[in-house]
């Protein structure tokens, strides 16, 4: 176990400088696009520029939660703990991205609508998804044994991921009956805005990849510590 864990960490240890550099370049380009290149939206003004990172963070958060689902299913099939590591890493990073969505949403809403929080469909669903995966992370802290933890959290991860489309549909239908101001609507969409949005999405996906690999490495280290502890107890 111990040697296995070590080689595993060794393989995953390097988050190469070029990849980080690439992500930073992408981020810089996306920021330039979002802050300067894209035209100022006529009705909402400068604050509409939050839109690019607000929406792309939500999309990226989704991708992370889909990775939680993939990791959970793969763990149940293979029982290889590395899939559990992928799940927990993706869940944490996804929660971070949805935190961004939840923080930038009100900052956008305040100048445009005069209120911090509106219960619009997208913001509300994001809030619910955030809560859902926070409870996934809470569950993980309450189970000690790694295999057990991986198993129960995989089950819950699958259920939570399956809940995502249901949350969206229900809130969307609910809001069509009880209209609210809409956050996350870009207003009149210029072609350049579309490109900038895509660029921002690419950049946030890059950030996501780096963060997940970083967090995955943390989990691998933890397994290594466990392996050492086990070896120590075996020798004792």
């Amino acid at each position: 176990m111990s040697t296995e864990a070590q080689t595993e960490t060794a393989n995953r240890a390097v988050i190469s400088t070029p990849s980080i550099l690439a992500v930073f370049l992408l981020l810089a380009a996306a920021s330039y696009g979002a802050l300067i290149w894209a035209p100022t939206e006529s009705t909402m003004g400068l604050v509409q520029r939050i839109f690019y990172f607000h929406v792309s963070s939500a999309w990226t958060g989704f991708v992370s939660f889909i990775l939680v689902f993939i990791g959970s299913v793969a763990y149940l099939r293979t029982r290889a703990l590395k899939w559990d590591w992928l799940s927990v890493a993706s869940a944490e990073v996804g929660v971070a991205f949805f935190t961004v969505v939840l923080v930038t949403g009100p900052i956008w809403a305040k100048p445009v609508w005069g209120i911090w929080w509106t219960w619009d469909a997208r913001l509300t669903s994001s809030f619910l998804l955030w809560v859902l995966f926070v409870s996934y992370l809470v569950l993980r802290t309450l189970v000690e044994e790694p295999e057990r933890r991986a198993l129960v959290s995989a089950v819950f991860g699958i259920f939570a991921a399956l809940d995502i489309p249901l949350v969206y549909f229900s809130i969307w239908w609910f809001r069509t009956q009880h209209p609210q101001p809409v956050i996350g609507d870009g207003g009149s969409l210029d072609a350049r805005m579309g490109w900038v949005l895509l660029l921002c999405w690419a950049a946030t996906l890059g950030v996501m990849t780096v963060l997940i690999r970083l967090r995955y490495r943390l989990e691998a280290l933890r397994a290594e510590v466990d392996a050492y502890r086990m070896e120590a107890s075996r020798n004792a």
Partner: protein
């Protein structure tokens, strides 16, 4: 041994144990009753307001009740490690879950049916003309609650702080059920009553998705 027969055997065991003491049912019913009474203080329950807010708080009370009641579903099996006894039997592991989901569905539905008239009287809502449709909504919503609740009860039974954990896991996942069944109930209590097919279809989808999920992961969940 077919899945259905094994599930039936387990279901009848659950019913027999519960109806012998009726502890769980009684306690849950009283809990919902308390919540319904306390809610009446949070707004002025005139008839028109009740129709708007009543269904929501009723369903909220049911969800809370479910998240408390379903705790014991798997905890009870830990007393003498009877879960191991069930897993020793040559049956499909899902039949254990299926039996328990059905039992919990019946328990919850029973509590709901008992408290529905109380709710109608206290909040001055006429339910008799739309009773059948209301029962359909109750049943569809409760299937989703029982399916996810039973699975999460097995999850929470393996963790620390399980009493707190089950509501924490269950309630966010059940938010769509809360929305759908509340909206459907509001629609049916409206004047004139309206059976909202969108929400009924949605509830059925929820039930199908999570029953299937329970079926797929059931065998892993009960492992030791």
């Amino acid at each position: 041994m077919t899945l259905a027969r094994a599930a039936g055997v387990i279901l009848s065991k659950e019913l027999r144990t519960e109806f012998r003491s009726r502890e769980l049912l009684g306690t849950t019913a009283v809990f919902v009753l308390i919540v319904i009474v306390l809610f009446s203080f949070t707004f002025n329950p005139t008839s028109s307001e009740s129709r708007r807010f009543g269904p929501g708080l009723l369903w909220l009370a049911f969800l809370f009740a479910g998240s408390l009641m379903l705790q014991s579903s798997f905890l009870r099996e830990q007393t003498n490690d009877t879960l191991a006894a069930l897993r020793l039997a040559p049956i499909d592991p899902f039949s254990i879950l299926a039996g328990k989901i059905t039992a919990n569905f019946l328990f919850l539905l029973l509590v709901e049916v008992i408290l529905l008239p109380v709710f109608a009287v206290l909040y001055n809502v006429a339910i008799l003309p739309v009773l059948a449709q209301l029962l359909l909504i109750l049943a569809l919503g409760t299937i989703g609650l029982a399916a996810t609740g039973t699975v999460f009860s097995a999850v929470a039974a393996q963790a620390r702080l399980r009493e707190l954990l089950l509501p924490l896991l269950l309630l966010p996942v059940l938010a769509p059920v809360l929305i759908a069944s509340t909206e459907a109930t509001i629609a049916i209590l409206r004047d004139p009553p309206e059976l909202s097919l969108v929400w009924l279809t949605f509830l059925s989808c929820f039930d199908v998705v999570f029953l299937t999920a329970a079926w797929m992961v059931g065998e892993y969940l009960l492992e030791e």
